[in-house]
Symmetry: C2
Subunit: 471 residues, 2 copies
């Protein structure tokens, strides 16, 4: 099915127009949430405890939840129990298979000219070194482009060091640029004949906490050891290289692919009054990288969206069904999002919204909706403004990692944007732990999501379809 | 020799009185530095590059410098070469032996009820676990006193978890209180029959960067594995214990004592015009813990004091000899300070001053001088005030780790106090790296030390002797 699915279903379209007309007649079934009701729900959410309880519980009682691991399986069971206890309907696990990669151990040291250890960790899908390790000269590049332009004869058999700087941005936009270095650098180095690649961590901190992350081998690239140096260690290796003497590094890594494992999405629902009104999907991802306990990435995301959905559920049945999805195996390549699309592409989705950017204060919201639906964003903007949240001027920028696959079918998306100023200090590091979640800001998130659901799950206006390529 | 050494040497005392008298007659040999000369030297030091070069060089070209290690030996050679190149006189190594302890590897995981890894590192002199590790139930204590009061039957065979909180203080004074937990806790736990002890890191940060540090086994305490959890991991273990179920932890540590090794102090001098006027000793320590590169602890300290001494040297011969000491093996138990005292206790020291509290802005100075010498602090206070540095009201609080042994002989001490607000975020962790040194604040330190030396190395007034127990 193509990305214009909703537009090609004339029956649905007519039905929606009819619903919109009846809404104008103030049918009790279809009435929009009154602004004062939304405001009351929103403000009550500023004392929320559910989001903290979920974030604290998941990170404490499960901890790290690597995609495909036993811990992720325990997390699914934990999620089912918690979602049932909260009163949600249709709580279930939808399983799927994933390739399983194990980090193993990694160590490295400068051997010459200045012997000393370096702190680093494997990137997703990294190969191991030989059991005894490998020792080779380092060749440094300050950008992916300079690596791409390198003479293979100069790179062959060497350890490539790819350094670059990530800037702090409130909206995290620099991740798009430098994330490419992590995702593409290893394949480029491999094709040039490198023995291994060390990249500077994709992160904005100054701690000995290397940032892992996914990368995949492009066609024809043999897997090699691919690791991220902590930022202070990348600084150090830069300084050592600048001395101009040949630099030799010894490296050991035991990372490996370990077959297929089971992963899964956990789903819970608040059934709507009108089964034909479509689904408002909210959620985040249940899996985490294995270095930290995945507090900001993304226990907080599933916690915030679940807490908000529970508030709407407890306030009375919404017009549209709210579906909360705790996606599995996001980190290793959006497997949960792909599995969700495959299974649910035939269902009507009114709106998608994901929380996967930490738990600091939400400062703006973005939309990817039909141009005709923009006026319908005004009630939401009014409901969010008291929380210090403004509508971004450009339509078409809203997305989310897990929802990106099904979004391609033309489904509208609203994105509540957290302040990401410190997000990339912690992202994918051992430092992603509960203490990084500020309870006050977490509650502001719950309030914003409660307002979002109060408005959108009760708004009879259709926000789509979104034309292909509009986001 | 007792602590009233200088007071019991009438010849010296008379000689000093005579000098003071001649100073009053403006003898060129003994003239105090003119305030405007000190001010000029101080302000020129605000553009210093020597301290940065030493800090950068030592942390880059040597890196971690564990007491007794090959790296510490390389650091001594590096120091000799650098001090000679800077033009100092009498540059030499004074060797001594130390017990050598190796950190090895440490890993731990909660086995039940919530399996997940914990980040930790061994404390100095920790024993190893059995090769296969040890697994035991955890018993938690929130203070050293509650551990001391524990029933041995409740502790026997268990892993003691000793948690406590360190407060951020500008002057670092909380280290005195909570440092005791690290130094004494392991022996107390051992005597109660514990299988191992995990302490919450003595630190004020929230990173997965455990704080190591020295501890020694008291009489009758069998060495056991003694390790520090990173603060987020101590938080986590607290949360897990609060759930009320029995908590089991599996622990591996390969730390070991490995015989005797050579360490040493590196000494350099600026000979004074009057060999009888006594020595102004300044310095810090050359060794570091092995987790970081020892930038704030204490490459910066040796760098700041050396840079200041060089400025005085280059400005013309001072009245008194300035002796710069880069002490060895401070971290594992002040061995360098003890060796220095043993070797140099017969020499006349006018003043001791050590920099071992990072490189952030100096905000006050403290004194441990004879009461009669307090008026002589006024020119120094005047020279430091433009840098935002004030004299602490109470005399007797100045000290320093390496100089603490020889200070006991009654020698005056002045302590320039850095702002320690973030010092214990980094102290003894892998995060003690060059990027934590702010070049601007480092230069303020050099300026303050330059003023200190300009005044005190040219001041004919004697600042001592300091009565026993006065500091």
């Amino acid at each position: 099915m193509g990305s214009g699915r909703l537009a090609t279903n004339p029956m649905k379209k007519i039905s929606l127009l009819a619903l919109a007309a009846s809404a104008a007649l103030s049918s009790p079934l279809l009435a929009q949430a009154k602004p004062e009701e939304t405001a009351a729900l929103r403000d009550a959410a500023l004392t929320d405890t559910v989001a903290w309880d979920i974030t604290e519980g998941l990170t404490t009682e499960i901890g790290p939840r690597l995609a495909g691991s036993d811990a992720e399986a325990r997390a699914r069971d934990w999620a089912v129990a918690r979602l049932k206890a909260l009163g949600f309907s249709n709580v279930r696990i939808e399983p799927f298979e994933v390739p399983y990669w194990e980090r193993g151990e990694a160590s490295a040291a400068i051997v010459a000219p200045y012997p000393q250890p370096l702190v680093l960790t494997a990137l997703g899908n990294s190969a191991a070194t030989p059991t005894k390790g490998l020792t080779a000269e380092v060749i440094g590049f300050d950008s992916l482009d300079s690596l791409k332009a390198a003479d293979p004869a100069a790179v062959k058999g060497k350890i490539v060091f790819l350094t670059h700087r990530m800037a702090v941005t409130q909206d995290g936009s620099h991740y798009g640029t430098v994330g490419k270095v992590r995702r593409e650098g290893p394949s480029v180095a491999s094709k040039l004949g490198a023995a291994a690649i060390l990249i500077r961590s994709i992160g904005t901190d100054h701690h000995r906490a290397p940032h892992t992350g996914s990368q995949s081998w492009s066609d024809g690239a043999q897997p090699i050891p691919a690791l991220a140096l902590a930022n202070p260690d990348a600084d150090q290796l830069e300084r050592v290289l600048k001395r101009g003497k040949p630099v030799t590094v010894a490296l050991k890594a035991t990372a490996r692919m370990a077959g297929k494992r089971l992963s899964g999405n956990v789903i819970a629902e608040v059934p709507g009054r009108d089964p034909d009104a479509g689904i408002v999907l909210v959620g985040g991802h249940l899996d985490s990288w294995d270095q930290g306990t995945g507090a900001i990435d993304d226990a907080a995301g599933v916690a915030i969206t679940t807490a908000a959905a529970k508030r709407i559920m407890d306030a009375g049945q919404p017009l549209r069904t709210i579906r909360v999805v705790w996606f599995g195996s996001e980190e290793i390549g959006l497997f949960g999002g792909a599995a969700y699309r495959e299974k649910h592409k035939g269902e009507k989705h009114h709106l998608l919204a994901e929380s996967d950017f930490g738990a600091d204060r939400i400062w703006r919201f973005q939309t990817s909706v039909a141009e005709a639906a923009l006026p319908a964003m005004k009630p939401l903007a009014a409901a969010l403004a008291p929380l210090g949240i403004q509508l971004a001027p450009r339509n078409g920028d809203a997305s989310g990692s897990d929802i990106s696959e099904i979004q391609k079918l033309g489904i509208p998306v609203i994105e509540l944007g957290q302040d990401g100023t410190r997000y990339f200090d912690l992202h994918h590091t051992p430092d992603d732990t509960l203490d990084k979640v500020d309870p006050v800001q977490l509650r502001q998130n719950v309030a914003a999501w409660t307002a979002l659901l109060s408005v959108t799950a009760n708004d009879p206006t259709d926000y789509g379809p979104v034309p292909p390529g509009a986001h």
